[in-house]
């Protein structure tokens, strides 16, 4: 137990040091660019908490990140490096718009139908690389990267052809119908009902992964496919089910984002939440229960740097560098390893003695 504690401590420490390094980097950049570095740093760090609506912004942004993080979590746990969640999210948003605009339904039912439709389409998209892998041994990472472009252009085609509101004056669909919106649930923010679904999804994925047969099969087959074959766990089921579930969540996430945060569909490029999901899942160490925490963290530094760039001269682009640095150090398994080894040796020795 001693050792486990040391590992936990060091994982925590690594997280803190990683964050400290990225903040230090931010400080250096700010100093180089801005006249009043300390004030700017304060804006970056504390700005996001300065008003209810800004805190709201963090949570609003964390919602889609949580979904795609969960999707990636279950897909990668099955050892399928499938990046098609990106496509699922985009197409989910497109389908959500289509159903919202063209299929009038009562409030409540409308949302359910949309979740289902975009979830299904998202699931189907993520199944494509899985099928290509099973049938043609095509590497799912490569095929999903290519697939994302195909999905993006197909989605744009659908919007352009069927959904675009030529009165809008910009590239946007008809307005999302009132009956399908996800209402805000916290006053003075735009935090919408999607957060409830996100929490439910976290619980759902946690239960699937650790309390169901499918989850057991996914975890075992994901770590050793030979083992699964040999013990009679169906690898096909694992691949298809994990990709379908992940894709479903990804697709549904697209619809929730559109219904909760947008008036009209207006993406002209993919918003990259699928790739963000990979960051989230890594930060959370593929633990479903940690996904929302990672999502909130990422959302926090993004909102912080947004505020920073709005109020100072620091260009917003720098945030991607800061994010990447934080993620890199957190993901570096051997970072601070020397000290960890030292602590472990010491602990082991005291136990011996």
């Amino acid at each position: 137990m001693e050792i486990k504690k040391i590992e936990k401590t060091f994982d925590g420490l690594r997280l803190l040091v990683a964050i400290a390094i990225s903040i230090l980097f931010m400080l250096i950049v700010i100093t180089a660019v801005s006249g009043s570095p300390m004030a700017s740093l304060g804006t970056f760090l504390f700005g996001p908490f300065q008003s209810v609506s800004r805190i709201g912004n963090i949570i609003e942004l964390a919602i889609p990140l949580t979904f795609t993080g969960l999707a990636i979590c279950i897909m990668f746990e099955a050892n399928q490096i499938n990046c098609a969640v990106e496509g699922s999210f985009f197409m989910g948003a497109v389908i959500a718009t289509a159903v919202s605009v063209f299929l009038p339904l009562p409030f409540g039912i409308h949302q359910l139908v949309i979740f289902l439709a975009s979830g299904v389409i998202g699931g189907l998209i993520c199944l494509v690389p899985a099928i290509l892998k099973v049938k043609f041994q095509a590497n799912e990472l490569v095929s999903s990267l290519m697939l994302n472009y195909i999905v993006l252009y197909s989605g744009l085609f659908i919007v352009n052809r069927f959904l675009v509101d030529s009165q809008a004056g910009y590239f946007a669909s008809y307005s999302i119908s009132r009956s399908s919106k996800l209402p805000p649930i916290v006053p003075h923010t735009r935090i919408h009902f999607g957060i409830v679904i996100a929490v439910l999804c976290v619980i759902f994925i946690y239960l699937v992964m650790y309390r169901t047969r499918l989850g057991y099969a996914i975890r075992m087959a994901g770590k050793n496919e030979n083992f699964a074959r040999y013990t009679g766990i169906s690898v096909l089921t694992v691949i298809f089910a994990s990709q379908a579930i992940g894709g479903f969540i990804g697709g549904m996430a697209g619809s929730i984002e559109i219904l909760g945060m947008y008036r009209r569909f207006q993406y002209t490029a993919s918003p990259q939440y699928g790739f963000d999901g990979i960051i989230i899942a890594t930060l959370a160490d593929y633990k479903p229960q940690m996904i929302p925490v990672a999502a909130l963290f990422l959302a926090y530094i993004r909102i912080g740097s947004d505020i920073l760039s709005r109020t100072t001269d620091v260009p917003v682009e720098i945030v991607s560098v800061v994010q990447a640095i934080a993620v890199l150090f957190v993901a570096s398994k051997l970072f601070l390893n020397k000290y960890k080894q030292w602590a472990i040796v010491r602990a082991a020795k005291t136990k011996e003695a």
């Binding site: 030529s166 009165q167 004056g169 910009y170 590239f171 002209t268 918003p271």
Partner: protein, 365 residues
């Protein structure tokens, strides 16, 4: 050559800023103006032009200015605009495009004391109480029409670099309404010169892929195009490169791109026969000037185009050297016709996707 002037002097619009009066306005310090854009700077056209307008406001009226790039994530727009409105620090908040219009329509009612200028859109004054918002939009199609006249004139002429075929090209960023508004005007203008003219249309797919922009232009040139109009933001620079490589001509967009490139000593400038201008910056400067004078009609909408000298084509040294006199003459004639209303240029605003693609396909080679 009044069109080449950078001052805005709309003949009908109430004019306060038509003479740049840098010196005597600086005393009136204190007006704080913020520009919130739903993108990032560096497109060398729309947003940059607006930014130049802000710079001019600072210079001319001594305003304190700020530009906020809200990026492409649409979920950030509403909180940012709200935050700026709430702070009360800014006398005027300037917003742009239809994307922000819908958000502003809701926010503006909540902050009746805050003044807004919205350009590049037409606000819905009937359904929303927006007495604190002034809106101005541009007739880009009119400028593009003139470019079409010039392009068609060139391709059928014996000017340098022009081939036998009556083919011109259009490279757009994306197949979307704002871009297609240029396209429709361009095609109409070209056809007014010669109804058999062919226009090859390609879209880059985004506004950044310069390589693709160049590749598409090269392909068009290979198919016989000798004047190519680019509306592809940053990717459009690739079109100039292709034109320069193959010895044909190009037409720029939004700003006078010849002058922009020339000022950087860029040899590419020479292939730019003219540019379709949308003098966004000028219209901002003009509006703020009117606001200072207290003459800005908040609560109303203005549509400005060739007539107001906000859109149009760039008549610069290069244009004068490259374009033969008879084409210059026919362009001037078309311009007059637009100003006096004898020519009504179609617009892509309100057209369905099919209608646009029908027009586009009808002139494909």
């Amino acid at each position: 050559g009044t069109k080449a002037d950078s001052t805005a002097a709309g003949s009908s619009a109430p004019s306060a800023a038509d003479t740049p009066a840098a010196g005597d306005k600086t005393e009136e310090k204190g007006l704080k103006v913020a520009l919130l854009i739903n993108g990032v700077l560096g497109d060398q056209s729309y947003y940059d032009s607006a930014a130049a307008g802000m710079e001019a406001i600072k210079e001319s009226y001594g305003c304190e200015t700020k530009i906020v790039e809200m990026g492409s994530d649409a979920t950030k727009y509403e909180p940012t605009i709200t935050e700026y409105s709430e702070s009360g620090d800014w006398d005027i908040i300037i917003l742009c495009t239809n994307t922000l219009k819908e958000i502003l329509q809701e926010i503006a009612q909540d902050y009746p004391d805050q003044k807004y200028i919205l350009f590049g859109a037409r606000a819905d004054y009937e359904n929303f109480n927006m007495s604190n918002v002034y809106t101005v939009d541009y007739l880009a199609n009119e400028g593009a029409y003139l470019a079409g006249v010039v392009a068609a004139g060139l391709t059928t002429s014996k000017a340098e670099g022009m081939n036998e075929e009556k083919v011109i090209g259009f490279v757009g960023g994306q197949d979307v309404t704002v871009i297609n508004d240029f396209l429709i005007g361009f095609i109409e203008g070209a056809k007014s010169v010669d109804s058999d003219i062919k226009v090859i249309t390609s879209y880059v797919g985004d506004y950044v892929n310069t390589g693709k922009g160049k590749e598409l232009a090269l392909t068009q040139i290979q198919q016989g195009a000798d004047v190519i109009f680019q509306c592809a933001g940053g990717a459009g620079t690739g079109v100039f490169e292709a034109a320069s490589e193959k010895g044909v001509l190009a037409i720029g967009c939004d700003a006078d791109q010849y002058e922009v490139l020339k000022s950087m000593d860029d040899p590419l400038a020479d292939v730019i026969a003219t540019s379709v201008m949308k003098r966004v910056g000028v219209s901002i400067e003009r509006a703020v000037g009117m606001a200072i004078d207290g003459t800005l009609p908040y609560g109303s909408f203005e549509l400005v185009g060739v007539k107001e000298n906000v859109t149009g084509i760039a008549v610069n040294d290069n244009y004068k050297t490259i374009v033969p006199d008879e084409i210059v003459a026919s362009e001037e004639q078309a311009e007059k016709a637009i100003v006096d209303g004898t020519i009504k240029v179609s617009t892509a605003l309100g057209m369905t996707t099919e209608e646009v693609s029908e027009i586009r396909n009808s002139v494909k080679p």
